[in-house]
Amino acid sequence: MIVLAALEAAPAHGYAIIEEIRRRSGGAFDLPEGTVYPVLHRLETSQLLSSHWEKSPIGRRRRVYALTKHGSASLAARRTSWVQFSSAIEALLTEPKLCRT
């Protein structure tokens, strides 16, 4: 879900995805960088992402990933589940108000 969310705004290459995750999580998700690439590969195999090669401004080839329609739908479904789950946990963790009779 983290990687799908990072690609929601626009297609990006691996390094930019990692930067986006780090930036949007305020540094909380400072993942080992190499672990993101197998995840991208798995999401592409599951047809949640598509990818193609592009030339970088300095001429290096880089793989750019984009959400597919299936990926956008999956992200929306996961987001709904997460909101429900986090609301439930928040309700549980909120200190109950003591009732005085």
Partner: protein, 231 residues
């Protein structure tokens, strides 16, 4: 420029050598990442910047193991449709031979010589073929339903067992076809027109050979990768 990144990529390529196309793609992608990362961390010391980029990226073995799980699943899933296509190819060759017998006026029932062997071989051929088709389809569905993510070795083994069972049944069916064709052709004098049924049996044998080679290649790859990465 130091050789740290080049050495790292060489090591990664070695770890991913079980899947050469994946290895090429990943190494090119990782090289771009490491160069960007090194440029970002560079303050004049190239070696230190490359070392830092590699450190942030992580050990090659761990990364390759994560790629291996997806790659093996993808390749294992691809075996199912190949088995079914080959079974259908054998069926087409069989049907073409029977159509040729009918068109040239040969009897399409059991061969005239050794009728008992012909009857047994014909029944064996039919049931072995149905078994190959059914187990092939089951293997395809089973492999397709395997979840992405962590590699489930038990499910993978079951999927291969189904493919292997389909392959074994198909070998039986093709052997029965060879016997039936030999019985049919041995009863009459040699003619160049015999080359047609012989060629159709040859196609069946070639298809079965291709299937065995494919299953062997994928199982060897899975065995190598699971041993290397302790999956």
């Amino acid at each position: 420029m130091s050789h740290l990144i080049a050495n790292y990529l060489e090591q990664l390529a070695h770890e991913l050598s079980f899947d050469r196309s994946l290895s090429r793609r990943v190494c090119e992608e990782v090289e771009d990442h490491l160069r960007q990362s090194a440029e970002r961390h560079s303050d004049g010391d190239t070696i230190e910047a490359e070392r830092r980029a590699i450190e942030l990226f992580g050990p090659t073995k761990i990364i390759a193991a994560q790629f291996a799980a997806t790659s093996l699943l993808k390749r294992s899933r691809a075996v199912g449709p190949i088995v079914v296509l080959i079974v259908l190819g054998v069926f087409a060759a069989m049907k073409a031979r029977v159509a040729w017998y009918a068109a040239t006026g040969w009897t399409t029932s059991e061969p005239a010589r050794f009728p008992d062997i012909g009857v047994i071989a014909y029944a064996f051929d039919r049931y072995a073929f149905y078994l190959a088709l059914m187990t092939g389809l089951c293997g395809w569905v089973y492999a397709f339903r395997m979840q992405s993510g962590a590699l489930d070795k038990t499910r993978l083994q079951r999927s291969f067992m189904l493919s292997a069972a389909a392959g074994a049944a198909l070998i039986g069916s093709v052997l029965a076809d060879i016997i039936l064709t030999a019985l049919r052709l041995s009863g009459v004098g040699w003619s160049t027109s015999h080359l047609i049924p012989i060629a159709s049996v040859g196609i069946e044998v070639a298809l079965v050979g291709a299937l065995i080679a494919r299953i062997h290649a994928v199982t060897s790859l899975v065995a190598t990768a699971t041993l290397r990465f302790d999956l």
